[in-house]
Symmetry: C2
Subunit: 330 residues, 2 copies
Amino acid sequence: MRVRKIIPACTVLLLLASVCHAQQDPLPSWNDGPAKRSIVAFVSRVTNQSAADGGWVKPEDRVAVFDNDGTLWCEQPLYFQFMFAMDRVRAMAPEHPEWKEKEPFKSLLAGDMKGVMAGGEKGMLEIVAATHSGMTTEDFNGIVKDWIRTARHPKFKRPYNECVYQPMLEVLAYLRANGFKTFIVSGGGVEFMRAFAEHTYGVPPEQVVGSAGVVKFETRDGKPALVKEPKVFLIDDGPGKPVAINLFIGRRPVMAFGNSDGDLQMLQWTTGGDGPRFGLIVHHTDAEREYAYDRQSHVGKLDKALDEATQRGWTVVDMKNDWKQVFPAK
Amino acid sequence: MRVRKIIPACTVLLLLASVCHAQQDPLPSWNDGPAKRSIVAFVSRVTNQSAADGGWVKPEDRVAVFDNDGTLWCEQPLYFQFMFAMDRVRAMAPEHPEWKEKEPFKSLLAGDMKGVMAGGEKGMLEIVAATHSGMTTEDFNGIVKDWIRTARHPKFKRPYNECVYQPMLEVLAYLRANGFKTFIVSGGGVEFMRAFAEHTYGVPPEQVVGSAGVVKFETRDGKPALVKEPKVFLIDDGPGKPVAINLFIGRRPVMAFGNSDGDLQMLQWTTGGDGPRFGLIVHHTDAEREYAYDRQSHVGKLDKALDEATQRGWTVVDMKNDWKQVFPAK
């Protein structure tokens, strides 16, 4: 039996592990209920090649897309990328004495959040532009990684990339174990997310789709460099999500996961295709363990998409009742 | 030995196949010479985890990028996408009686290529815009697939996607067998290439990066649709290549393959990183089996990049002498 000798020990272990795994609950942080059952039923259906209903989906078409803010990680009290930008303004202030007299920086540095918000979207964009440009893409990556390592969420007192939803990490792993390629498709900045997505979610940079600024190729210190400019190139939100999915991924997904009206068109596009399709919305109903918000929220407003979910048969996760646990154990 | 029972027959076959494979020449269409040896030496180095020189590259960082026109498939007498666009003008002419009086369509329909070329880049863009917009992305995909199936190359009398370089198909397969993710990064249209890249090169849509037009999300016949507009969104050529690599892939590649000055910045960016890096240029030197052109060519001009290749130690493939065979056997 020469064949046996060829099989390395690790292969045997992997096989044993997958046999054990198949007997375990793939979604242990989910309470047994319609949301969990809809996910498992869908995955079972599309991976069953001999299903009588013809619901099998070829492995190469198993594409699942996930919004990030509010779907994979928390988005309160403000989008984490904006928390990062504000921390950067504080860190960069010594090099920018002019900010002491200039809004929205003046309010921010004085700790006056109401003043910052008074500047509206324009003020927020100024803060993002000032903190997300002028450096190379590689330097920016390092700055984000440092922030992820050192900053703490104001309510949960833990690193931002630990304020991720344990039940959704399980869905990501469960889908990958069933031959899905998992993509992030988020309004957040693509380079911001790539700095932690691989480590935090197991999603490699090339499977992260997001908003992007203009980047310029130039020579710095005699070496080629990519430099971030203070100018928006694409917004991956709302109708921009199916457009970005088409541009970056080039296939219509089979499953889409979101939590707000910014995900509406991505859900419509995904579930509007032929064959089996799955849409899911995370509804933030848990003021105690996380936050409770929907139709009136300034961040992650969920209104139209909640109405369409009923009409179109999308799964709505009731965070309070469907999730045994919200965040990973400390 | 319960373990043995778990191992399915296909696993055994795969293991046997890979053992056999390892003993075979992975690049049989390449003559033994410096080009072939440089590829094999580089791949051996970056996949050898115990190498004393620390040249091992982690599997997740094994990203290789390939230009398409002139690198993976032929680009003469004109870029194939332009041959497609001209065929489309001829097919669409009955619905556009106004083209009979309007340049560059008038010349094209009269078979006057000199007249078409007299319109310069502006005229070519008009032909591309007229044939690449107004339809949904899914309809466009079907149109390209039909063309690939029915059109024939004027010199080689075979489908355009059979005018691909057998030696480069072998490089793609060899790199993938060694844990590389292979990407196409081309000035060609991303949606045009995706219609055949998976079947022709084994490169899935999400690993194809290219130029792109504006796409709009709208509702057609009550269903969500993505519609192509006659407007350029991004040009993936020259300095646009490292920018697009950063946007789509998010990692600096380890290996880059090109053939023209449009690949110069991609080669600079790839080989400008730390650790082992590899750059390769396909030099079209074979007028008999394919075409011979470089510094003076209108399509696929290779001038600056050829000079830099020597300075920077990039491999230059002499098509005539390095390739035993140019195209796959009929």
